[in-house]
Symmetry: C2
Subunit: 415 residues, 2 copies
């Protein structure tokens, strides 16, 4: 079997060619990948059937089985995704800044690929194709390590992608999949500092923390979202209720879904019954502090653990606060620095909230569900960064690039 | 003694105040720090005398002693540095991008502080003051861990800085120094993921690699520079010679100094004697491959080890190549991705070199010595990043910040 070091070397060898491809060529290759995925759908479905059988045999949970399962629609949507990436602007070569120094040097800061990206993720096979498309378009080589449950599906998908690379005379090792699904190999990938420029983990909060602890390669943390909506004194309570229902129930399993409602005591008595009523059809398990419970006696009492928990489910905890300062303190203490919203009509409060809340995305009068590469207009995303280094918030093509300075002179030497 | 966790907590507590300071206030504090450093010069010199005595007793090398030593001029120059930082533009609050989405959300990407920065460095006490000034101006808290040789000097300097903070009613723990100089504490700092947003090591290549291996906090690698100058066929050989002399000898101990000369064989016979003659007054130890030695018989033969070594000294190795492709292959193989130059008058070659060389800064017809925050016009630098994540090349104030998205809506929910 091929060693990780060899895979790293292969990726490095592919890197030079990838970094110099024209946009026309890259888009042509992405379209060829889409065609090849569609053409291979029988093989992909067969491989996926094996994964599904194994997973059922191993008692994998139903929600996980649903993530793993492929069908014609899902394969078509992966292929469509590759064509969409072909339609996105090429980030490489963009000049971010440029100036002339006192000595007449012309300095340009130019966008370049990162180099080799490691992706480590859990069950969903579509991540394989999404990640390969985005890393290819941005001129990067990628080494993929998907979940062991999806290994046959991932192999079939990567075979299709590599066939397209070969047909288009692009180094096949631009896209490599680790087929050894042992934990040892995963750990070795996280420590492959000689070849990887960055490691992007996707999965549960627990999984990502495990990667952060073990990795020596720089990691971009993605994901966990314990998102709050704060309703201020004087807010439009109907707007607040609409936003809360949307943020909580439109897709509760995702990281930008709302988990906590923080309410100013001045509006709690009017708002909370409105919210409880609006959430009723969704069977949301409501929990609250003493003050919330005094208004909604049927809800259960929230524990300290609730405030820090990302439920990813039809559960919401409610905290009543005296004022904006208390709301900000509470949110900055318990949030995961993902997405936080204030519903207000007070200008000074909107300014204070957006400045003082520490999160990737801070909203005034809108649902937290908009933290998303497509909604931002990036066209696609490779994840949502909740750390502060390199990229913060939805990561599109620009966020998986680096820069270099190009300096043109006419003989300058330093005095 | 205070624990690292407590220091981390203290820094986090200071972070909120720091992130909200006005530019006027920050500049006022920086000027107060400068005054306090000047006022404390007796105490600083006394503390430094103890460090110097200890270092001499412990047989510390002369070059290190010179780095450690403070005098009135050096203290004045640290204070001047703080005033210069006060004069720089404040990066916080800058809007990097802004747009309106189809649903009418106004999205702004705003520059914010990183949060808490860890600095770990070797002997020079001026790094203490430089780092404190830059991290303060960019709204970050900092935890400093300098070399044990400089501990008394660093304590005296940090006492002065914190006195200024206190006078200005800024949380003193915005700037903290670790006084326990054990390796265990240094390692614990590198792994303080709960409190540090980034760790910036400064020192030798070996020191930085040690930090990368041990750290769990994200690291920005700085420093090592095995820089090349390639002289192309048809280049202006007098310009090439001037640039080589400058890049090699103007300050050979620094990371942007040239270490290797790569020459096209078409000009080697004419160029190498010119270079040897021009370097003669500097007693540069020249080494070369077979072809270089056949032109300059007195030089020694370079070994494989030479090609990958950063000398930081009056030593230079010479490689003769057939063409530009061979030069690019050689440089991309052995360089440390710092600064690389081509001397040419061929347009296509200048384009190929700047596109294909993988380095933080790529030059045409200029000395590699310009890779520097001051020369770039950043006003100051906290180091030169040789990695591709977050920041690449000279790091000024902008490079020690993060961003957040602020989204203003009027009730939008996701469909």
């Amino acid at each position: 079997m091929i060693t990780l070091t060899q895979m790293g070397q292969n990726a490095k060898n592919a890197e030079q060619q990838l970094s110099q491809l024209s946009t026309i060529k890259k888009n042509q290759v992405l379209k060829a990948m889409a065609r090849e995925v569609r053409k291979s759908s029988d093989a992909i479905l067969k491989a996926n059937a094996i994964d599904m059988q194994d997973a059922e045999k191993n008692g994998v949970k139903k929600v996980m089985l649903d993530r793993l399962k492929l069908d014609d629609d899902r394969i078509a949507s992966m292929a469509d995704g590759l064509e969409e990436v072909a339609g996105l602007a090429d980030p490489i070569g963009e000049v971010l800044k440029g100036w002339t120094t006192e000595t007449g040097l012309d300095i340009s800061q130019v966008r370049v690929p990162l180099g080799v990206i490691g992706m480590i993720y859990e069950a969903r096979p579509n991540v394989t194709v999404d990640a390969a498309g985005l890393t290819f378009k941005s001129g990067n080589a990628v080494i993929l390590r998907g979940g062991k449950e999806a290994i046959h599906s991932n192999q079939a998908l990567v075979t299709a992608l590599r066939t397209a690379l070969k047909t288009e005379t692009i180094a096949e090792d631009s896209i490599q999949l680790i087929t050894d699904t042992s934990h040892e190999t995963a750990t070795a990938l996280m420590q492959l500092t000689a070849y990887l420029d960055v490691l992007i983990p996707r999965g549960s909060a627990k999984f990502i923390q495990m990667v952060v602890q073990k990795a020596k390669v720089p990691v971009i943390e993605t994901g966990a979202g314990n998102c709050h909506v704060y309703v201020d004194e004087g807010a439009d309570l109907q707007m607040a209720t609409n936003i809360i229902v949307n943020a909580k129930t439109q897709r509760p399993s995702v990281c930008n879904a709302m988990e906590k409602l923080v309410v100013n005591e001045a509006v709690a008595e009017e708002l909370l019954p409105m919210v409880a009523k609006a959430l009723k059809p969704f069977n949301v398990d409501l929990r609250g502090d003493e003050r919330a419970k005094s208004i909604l006696p049927d809800i259960s009492l929230a524990t300290e653990e609730d405030w820090g928990t990302e439920y990813n489910d039809y559960i919401m905890a409610i905290k009543v606060v005296d004022d904006l300062d208390q709301a900000i303190d509470h949110i900055n203490r318990y949030n995961t620095k993902h997405s936080e919203a204030i519903i207000t009509n007070n200008y000074a409060h909107s300014e204070q909230f957006t400045k003082e809340i520490d999160a990737a995305v801070v909203y005034v009068n809108a649902s937290t569900r908009f933290t998303d590469g497509y909604e931002f207009g990036f066209g696609a995303e490779i994840g949502i960064s909740t750390q502060k280094l390199h990229a913060r918030g939805p990561m599109g093509l620009n966020e998986i690039t680096s820069t270099k300075y190009v300096i043109r002179g006419n003989g300058q030497v330093r005095k």
